[in-house]
């Protein structure tokens, strides 16, 4: 077919360091 593929949507991702911070704060919150 001549139909062009639909452009994919960019999924924003946190950086590895940001992920680290998120898990650290989650661990701190949990008892």
């Amino acid at each position: 077919s001549t139909q062009r593929p639909r452009p994919r949507v960019l999924l924003k991702a946190p950086t590895l360091a940001e992920m680290e911070e998120m898990t650290t704060s989650e661990e701190e919150e949990s008892p």
């Binding site: 593929p5 639909r6 994919r8 949507v9 960019l10 999924l11 924003k12 991702a13 946190p14 950086t15 590895l16 992920m19 680290e20 898990t23």
Partner: protein
């Protein structure tokens, strides 16, 4: 009248579906609680392929939250395993292989033409349809670098205690102990009885073990080459630093033994087909130090020969070795001050680094070249031992 509708068994399209509430179980069984030994005999990097097939189904159903959640849980799960097993070479290399493979899958099936050149038509059908995961690829690449650094740290920690005795103190060449510098024989023989004495075979055995694990786990060959270049650099740096600080090993006989040991390591690299790693080149300062110990050190011609040979050693290092050089017996002369001055004069135009010792903790930057797989997703079988029966093949 009963009508029997015969439905054709639907072909597996290489996607895996799961309920959102099973994500934690998936990560636990496939990442955090998984033991690499459970997967022996299966296709290398199986967890990476399974995770990609799950991501692909979430992409297929256009569920961005599910993709986000799965990738975040996967990355955090891998980090948790690495933290728990931070001195386990096998576990670390297993997750390096799988993280790199997942990264390769996200490229190979991204839909970017640059990554699809080696894909079969079937593989092209398995590309992502809705989402661009470029940013997650960056996170996985950063994670791979962290895992690589942990792997090198573990391997170096195992090898480092062996290096000095195996490279400088152990005598495997028969009859060489008779030509040791007088006054140092006792120390050398007492080391053999000590707890921290290793021979070169111990290093080679250990490297065989590392290499076998890396190959069995399907780590990319280009990364394996970089691992051994890094380890050989460390062997070179630790050995040379010790040579530069110890008078008792600066002798003709140690030079001879050292050159033999290096040739054994070179032979090991050839035997494992790792000669294009650049590992031997990192040993060049040590090779030249071994030669310097063996060369004549008397005439102006000797000085010229040393200067033209020792291009990977700094002036400071050459002078230090000459100063420490210990004659074998009363018939061999010490290196004269005049000879050392001649060397210094000949090398004064060199713009050498000032520090005497090598940084044995230096790390070469690692590269993870794209390495697409010829495997097709629909050919992958999930073994029962993984306890992933809640995954539905789609």
């Amino acid at each position: 009248r009963q009508v029997t509708v015969q439905r054709k068994e639907k072909d597996f399209q290489g996607m895996l579906e799961y309920h959102k509430e099973d994500e934690a179980l998936l990560i636990r069984n496939l990442v955090t609680d998984l033991k690499p030994q459970m997967l022996s005999g299966t296709v290398p990097c199986l967890p990476a392929y399974i995770l990609y097939m799950c991501i692909r189904h979430a992409d297929y159903t256009n569920d961005d939250l599910k993709v986000h959640s799965l990738l975040t849980s996967t990355i955090n799960g891998i980090k948790k395993v690495l933290k728990k097993h931070n001195d386990d070479f096998e576990m670390t290399s297993f997750w390096l292989s799988n993280t790199c493979r997942l990264l390769h899958c996200l490229k190979q099936y991204s839909g970017d033409e640059g990554f699809m050149t080696q894909n079969t038509a079937k593989q092209n059908e398995h590309c992502l349809k809705n989402f661009d995961l470029t940013e997650y690829r960056q996170v996985l690449s950063d994670l791979s670098i962290q895992i690589y650094q942990q792997l090198i740290k573990i391997a170096e920690g195992v090898l480092q205690p062996m290096i000095v005795s195996a490279m400088l103190e152990n005598e495997s060449i028969q009859g060489l102990s008779g030509v040791k510098p007088t006054g140092y024989r006792k120390r050398s023989s007492s080391m053999v009885d000590g707890d921290n004495s290793y021979c070169l075979e111990a290093i080679i055995r250990q490297m065989n073990s590392f290499h076998t694990v890396l190959c069995d786990q399907g780590l990319d060959p280009e990364i394996i080459l970089q691992v051994f270049k890094q380890l050989f650099y460390m062997i070179n740096a630790v050995t040379l630093n010790n040579l530069l600080l110890r008078k008792d090993v600066c002798s003709w006989s140690t030079g001879m033994q050292l050159r033999y040991n290096i040739s054994q390591l070179e032979e090991w690299l050839r035997g494992r087909n790792l000669q294009q790693s650049g590992a031997v080149q990192t040993m060049e300062p040590l090779i030249q130090a071994a030669q310097l110990l063996q060369l004549k050190k008397k005439t102006r011609e000797d000085a010229e020969a040393i200067c033209s040979l020792c291009t990977s050693l700094s002036t400071q290092q050459i002078v230090k070795i000459l100063n420490l050089y210990t004659p074998l017996n009363e018939f061999e002369e010490r290196v004269t001050v005049a000879f050392i001055r001649t060397i210094q004069a000949q090398l004064q135009e060199r713009n050498d680094p000032q520090q005497l010792l090598l940084d044995f903790k230096h790390m070469f930057p690692v590269l993870f070249p794209f390495n697409p797989s010829s495997l097709t997703m629909d050919s992958i079988h999930i073994p029962a031992c993984l306890n992933l029966e809640f995954l539905n093949e789609v």
